[in-house]
Point group: C2
Chain length 432, copies 2
């Protein structure tokens, strides 16, 4: 049977599997609605009221749901209590290790950031093990704060600016890391610091992938309910600005990228898709840290932008703030640098749009604040070069990413998504 | 519920739906195996022998399957007859309308090309309606041949070199077509010629998409059984050279492209993904028929290749044969033209590989015969620029497409895939 079969054979379902499935269905229904009565859940999922009550009892017992107050349905009948996601219990730990900062956050079942620790440091100056140990130290402090809030992270997800696969960073050019077994090193460092968390599962992914998922789950311009399946040729644009097919670009010291199509991350055959920062712009351009020449990163990455504007390319966030300020003041060199970067971004993006045909392109990281000066040139290139003719100037398809998600939150939220997909697997005390 | 939910709610299944599903399951099992006994089918699909017999009886009665001879299982027990796909009955009609040819083929349930008609003509010289009417004429002749072979095409699929969506060509730059309602015009022309086929459903897609599907279904370097799902980060390479994630490029007068990931065609949000021919190579390069400047097509398309080699750019297949012959003879201008095109192909492909992370890149159309001279330069660019480091010279990931499939066969085979997915919907006399 090939994988494009429209009728895939369903896996065998027994009673226990069905109950686990239905526990997830009920939990996700409350999660997506924010709050709901048992009757509303029953109506939504198409199960009997009795079946839903039994499932809800288990979810209450396991600490996934809480009951709040009383509501009247507006119709005859007895009032029902409202179910909400628990603010304590299972949580996700997200750890973003980037070039010049480490962010750790703990997200609860509702997706809320409950703990957040950020340290600015130069991770290029230290060995990978030292950086991962430092990240574990910050994570240990976050776990203490989480415990005080009665949150119990059930897994950790690391976000890293590089090619990640099989628990390891294959290559992170801007960190200078090659073949670093990040999951193992971090897990060991954390369990040395917090023996109680020795069994905490640790996984890792590319930071742009996780930032893109945060955008999908939490972004104000991107929603997750309206998505048509990818590959159906249907636009996922629903007229309210909510899109589920987008290219996500994040300007950091390097440029990270991720592709989301029909609400799903496009990973590629080996997990390395989305490396838009290393698409070639000029065949004989400046050498890139990846070893090739003329990559987009060398024209529109943070260092390249600062350099072209006459600023210290290693001046980091302060330099970017200065660049914004100069652009706002009409400084010619700053404006020319941003226009040139925008044009090159637009050219590479037009190629990516011709290949992938997404609904939108979202720019995050340092690009967010620089949008007023980057976007016009980029938009003009996209308008001229997108062959479908579906790109018109200022049509809103090139946008700043929202500020409500980042890679750390995306990482923590991915843990929550796994809990929602099979709550029984994460219950501290099974009543099943 | 969002579309990335690992547990999507299953659609309600009643008894009739289940039987239709199981008819498809049994038919596809025989299709994929080539031939099988009832017992082998039962073992494969996990249904009882009695259930399979009942389903097989219906499929025999509806003319989807035939019974052949007797086999002995090699174990004790009575001999079973062998089931094969019927060589008569439901079939698919594929119609490829390209710049300088029209190909029509009829494919049977086993996927075999049973009728094939090709006409070489200049479709740029005629109005769209005239071209579609000519295609209908050829299709009518193919339907006559099919009837003589007792084949009954149940639907037609058109393959066109352009952006196709909603039954229309939005834009086909090399044909000079804009907003042509191809499905309707073709269906009308065919029903005028063959009133008996008035009800034949007609659909349309991009020719590179359909050629890529032919490659997936029939190619000798690409199989469809070993595919891991796209988006799982796993390589679909199974060591035998069978891949299910690839970029497909076809060199025609233009350059067509398609992306197949995990055995599925990547369509994009509006159905326009895969337009690799219009990825920019030089921002200020020659004007392209799409309206932009410096598209890949202007450097590596057939006309560009012929021109750079000092040949008449409109000399078509004869010119390409001459180019091959000159390259074989060591003609410097021909070799330089091919090396330059190969380098530019390689640059654009390296960007596409960095974005999509496929297992392979397959070159079809005129590129097939030119591989010996295009591939080395393209491979060198890919090796230098693919950031994952997974591209090494001559690793076999850049390949000529196989000769066993083309867009016309892919189009006809797509009809067969739909029949296999729900045979009951296409049965002439329902016994259900």
């Amino acid at each position: 049977m090939n994988s494009s079969d429209p009728f895939a054979t369903s896996p065998k379902a027994d009673k226990a599997t069905l109950r686990r499935h239905n526990l997830s269905l009920v939990l996700r229904t409350v999660h997506d609605a924010g709050e709901a009565t048992r009757a509303a859940v029953a109506g939504r999922v198409g199960l009997t009221r009795a079946a839903v009550s039994s499932l809800v009892d288990q979810l209450l017992g396991d600490g996934y749901l809480t009951e709040w107050g009383k509501t009247f349905s507006g119709q005859a009948g007895r009032p029902g209590t409202v179910l909400k996601m628990a603010r304590t219990g299972p949580a996700g730990l997200g750890v973003e290790i980037n070039i010049d900062y480490i962010t750790v956050c703990v997200v609860d079942l509702a997706g809320t950031d409950r703990v957040r620790l950020v340290e600015r440091l130069d991770n290029r100056a230290a060995a990978p093990t030292a950086v991962l140990t430092q990240a574990a130290r910050i994570a240990a402090r976050a776990l203490e704060s989480a415990a005080e809030q009665e949150l119990r992270p059930v897994a950790a997800e690391l976000a890293l600016p590089g090619l990640v696969s099989g628990g390891a960073v294959r290559q992170a050019p801007n960190l200078g890391w090659n073949r670093v077994a990040v999951e193992g090193v971090f897990a060991q460092a954390l369990s040395a610091l917090r023996p109680a968390h020795r069994a905490l599962p640790v996984s890792a992914d590319n930071e742009a992938n996780l930032a893109a998922m945060a955008e999908l789950w939490f972004g104000d311009v991107v929603g997750d309910g309206a998505g048509k399946g990818a590959g159906k040729g249907a636009s996922a644009h629903d007229g309210t600005g909510r899109v589920t097919s987008f290219i996500y670009l994040t300007g950091e010291i390097g440029i990270g990228g991720a592709l989301v199509l029909g609400g799903r991350l496009l990973r590629g055959a080996h997990g390395f898709a989305g490396e838009i920062g290393h698409v070639v712009v000029e065949a004989d351009g400046p050498e890139c840290r990846c070893g090739a020449r003329g990559c987009l990163e060398q024209y529109a990455g943070q260092a390249a932008l600062l350099r072209a504007a006459g600023l210290d390319e290693s001046s980091g966030a302060a330099g970017v703030a200065e660049l914004e300020s100069r652009a706002r003041d009409g400084n010619k060199q700053a404006l020319a640098a941003l226009e040139d970067a925008g044009r090159r971004l637009g050219r590479v993006l037009s190629g990516a749009v011709n290949l992938i045909d997404p609904d939108a392109v979202l720019l995050g990281g340092v690009f967010r604040g620089l949008m007023p000066w980057l976007a016009p040139a980029a938009d003009a290139e996209l308008t001229a070069r997108v062959v479908s003719g579906l790109w018109t100037p200022g049509n809103g398809r090139l946008r700043a990413s929202s500020s409500s998600g980042d890679a750390a939150r995306g990482a923590a939220a991915r843990v929550i998504r796994e809990v929602l997909a099979d709550p029984a697997a994460y219950a501290e005390r099974g009543t099943n």
